[in-house]
């Protein structure tokens, strides 16, 4: 990036003014470096046209980027502004993520990293350097917080005495003790797993987002640029395809229709199957406009 200067000085000056960077005495060079880092990350591996860069720069949250730059440089006024405007948001977000306690610790650990530590050379290393202005500062803070929360939870899970053997997780004990049932269930799951692996990545993303993580159709749609009805249709198509694939595999393996039917019953009986509430602890119950969801109407 050292020789590549995709952002010209006039654009830097314009964005610098528009971002109100003078409030924080932010050096134009520091802001230019932040913009270039942002462009380099967004267009990694390819050379964007001038028009693309212009469009990209105009879409940036420049004021937030300037604030983050100034905070990373240790500007007192910028830091005070950040504390006043964003710290409460940070705490509220942490409270929402960790309602059972530990929210303040989570937020404070992030807060410390945002403030940054000085290394032996006296340079401050702040987490703000990783903010590139492609989202608002608030969204970025929530993403960092959510990532830390997820990592914390996952590391906690690792230390708990839960079955870590993958097979044990993939195939929890069937409600049925019948050896035939266990065999059928194993066959069905193996066939399903193989069918899932053969899916296109976008189909697998929809399936994972909806059935494994519990994202709403609307949110999945926003992430992959589809309308939620389209997501729903694709999901239904993918499930139909998986079903056909599993049926074909089982039948090709010599199972009779009754055995295939029993294999699907066993998949359905699985107590650890689709259960968003178990996965996300009930806090992230899906909020689609789906069957059975209630709504309030102020009809006085």
């Amino acid at each position: 990036m050292s020789n590549w200067k995709p952002v010209d000085a006039s654009a830097v000056a314009r964005l610098w003014r528009g971002a109100g960077a003078d409030r924080w005495d932010l050096p134009k060079q520091a802001f230019a470096d932040a913009l270039e880092a942002s462009v380099a990350k967004a267009f990694a591996g390819r050379g964007p046209t001038t028009r693309e860069v212009e469009r990209y720069l105009s879409s940036l949250h420049a004021a937030d980027l300037a604030l983050a730059c100034a905070c990373a440089l240790g500007h007192e006024g910028a830091w005070e502004h950040f504390v006043r405007e964003h710290r409460p948001v940070l705490y509220r977000a942490a409270d929402a993520l960790v309602p059972g306690g530990g929210a303040r610790e989570l937020a404070d650990s992030l807060y410390a990293d945002l403030y940054g530590l000085r290394d032996t050379d006296g340079r401050r290393h702040s987490l703000f350097r990783y903010f590139h202005g492609r989202s608002s500062l608030g969204t970025w803070l929530r993403a960092v917080l959510a990532q830390r929360h997820v990592d914390l939870v996952r590391s906690r899970r690792r230390t708990e005495s839960l079955p870590e053997d993958e097979d044990a997780v993939v195939a929890p004990p069937s409600p049925s003790c019948d050896p035939d049932d266990r065999r059928l269930r194993g066959l069905a799951e193996t066939a399903l797993k193989a069918a899932i692996e053969r899916l296109a990545s976008r189909d697998r993303l929809r399936l994972r987002s909806y059935h494994a993580v519990g994202l709403t159709l609307a949110r999945i749609g926003r992430l992959i640029g589809e309308h939620e009805a389209t997501v729903s249709r694709h999901l239904a198509r993918t499930r139909r395809g998986l079903r056909a694939e599993v049926e074909r595999t089982l039948t090709a393996g010599g199972l009779a229709e009754a055995q295939v039917a029993r294999a699907f019953e066993l998949l359905l009986e699985d107590p650890a199957g689709l259960d968003v509430e178990v996965l996300l602890g009930g806090a992230a119950t899906r909020k689609d406009d789906e069957v059975g969801r209630s709504r309030y109407e102020g009809d006085g």
């Binding site: 967004a42 990694a44 977000a93 993520l97 492609r134 993403a143 959510a146 990532q147 997820v150 914390l152 939870v153 996952r154 906690r156 899970r157 993958e166 997780v169 799951e189 797993k193 899932i196 990545s201 976008r202 987002s209 059935h211 494994a212 993580v213 519990g214 159709l217 992959i224 640029g225 939620e228 239904a236 499930r239 079903r243 049926e247 039917a261 699907f264 019953e265 998949l267 359905l268 107590p271 509430e277 178990v278 996965l279 602890g281 009930g282 992230a284 119950t285 899906r286 689609d288 406009d289 789906e290 069957v291 059975g292 209630s294 709504r295 309030y296 109407e297 102020g298 009809d299 006085g300």
Partner: protein, 347 residues
């Protein structure tokens, strides 16, 4: 038994074991940009490919909305009276102040003065506000039906949205546009019906009344109704407090049902046209599996219940006001405390 449902359930479990972990994961900045919809196309494609196999990144994306501040209702969802409260109160206060301090204002009954008169140099005797401003109950009454009509129109628009099942999810009719247009039409109609402009005193009195009415409305809890639409949109339940009604014609007519419970209901879930679960205060859980008769299910907790989701007449999850969730898989005969979010992510 639906084989596709079985596939969905098992796929969820199989997919929870992500293959990509750690260093290859998307960083928070990329996830934030993805969430904000600002990733470049190539970058988004790469992110999709990664996330298709990564439980961790999708878990972060799933957790982010939880950390978002609660969304404010858009302006068209704010009750009409509340929307106009501040301007009405401000205008009322300003006019009242003007009337109080300016002796030139001529406050006379409307029939003596067809329009605003020029300021008079002569002092006029003070009149009681009630005499000065004929009670504008008629106009006030005009406004209340308007608000009611607006709400019922919104109800109709919402009830007509077919997206109760994922398969039937379709772009909803944007409610605010016709609302705004019809409000403008109504405003125009009113101005035709009432050619005579209001006097200053009338405006003041009406503003004060509107403000008082709005304040009263804010103080008095509005009896909201909970509508639970089943998978068959023509069958739905409506709950007002503890009164449960059922409609089989899409909300055209309602039939009151006896539940045997006096508890206020806060949430409901109807996974089919004959099955409906209701949850409410003091751990109340009600269930019908024939669409007509209700039985009270053993409560999982004594706390108030604020949410319920059900997939059939046996499996349901209720959430208490404290955020604790309980799950039943046997129609409410027994409940199991759900794991907290902390324990929810599996390796």
């Amino acid at each position: 038994m639906d084989r596709e449902e079985a596939v969905g359930r098992s796929a969820g479990r199989v997919l929870r074991q992500g293959k990509v972990e750690g260093a290859a994961c998307l960083d928070a900045e990329t996830l934030a940009a993805w969430s904000a919809g600002t990733l470049q196309p190539a970058e988004r494609a790469a992110a999709e490919v990664h996330a298709a196999d990564c439980s961790r990144c999708l878990a972060v994306l799933a957790a982010m909305p939880q950390a978002e501040p609660p969304a404010r209702d858009p302006w068209w969802r704010v009750p009409l009276t509340v929307r106009w409260l501040a301007p009405a109160a401000a205008i009322g206060a300003a006019v009242a102040l003007w009337v109080a301090v300016d002796p030139r204002v001529d406050i006379k009954p409307r029939e003596q003065r067809p329009a605003l008169q020029a300021p008079s140099a002569e002092p006029v005797p003070q009149q009681k506000p009630a005499e000065a401003a004929p009670a504008p109950e008629d106009r006030l009454a005009d406004r209340i039906p308007e608000a009611k009509e607006e709400r019922s129109r919104r109800d109709r628009v919402q009830a007509s949205v077919p997206g109760r099942s994922p398969e039937a999810a379709a772009p909803a009719t944007p409610a605010p546009v016709p609302d705004a247009a019809s409000r403008m039409d109504q405003a125009g109609a009113r101005s035709v019906e009432r050619p005579e402009p209001p006097t200053v005193a009338e405006s003041a009195a009406e503003s004060a009344r509107l403000a008082a009415g709005a304040r009263q409305e804010l103080r008095a809890p509005t009896e909201a109704s909970l509508v639970v639409v089943s998978s068959d949109p023509s069958v739905r339940w409506r709950v007002r407090g503890a009164v449960v009604e059922r409609s089989v014609d899409g909300g055209g007519t309602w039939e009151t049902q006896q539940t045997g419970s006096a508890a206020r209901i806060a949430a409901g879930s109807a996974p089919s046209a004959s099955v409906c679960w209701l949850a409410g205060e003091a751990g109340t859980v009600l269930l019908t599996n024939d669409g007509r008769t209700w039985r009270q299910v053993v409560a999982p907790a004594t706390a108030d219940l604020v949410a319920i989701t059900a997939s059939d007449d046996r499996v349901a999850v209720v959430t208490t006001s404290a955020g604790t969730a309980y799950r039943t898989t046997d129609g409410g005969a027994s409940w199991v405390l759900q794991e907290t979010p902390d324990a929810s992510f599996q390796e």
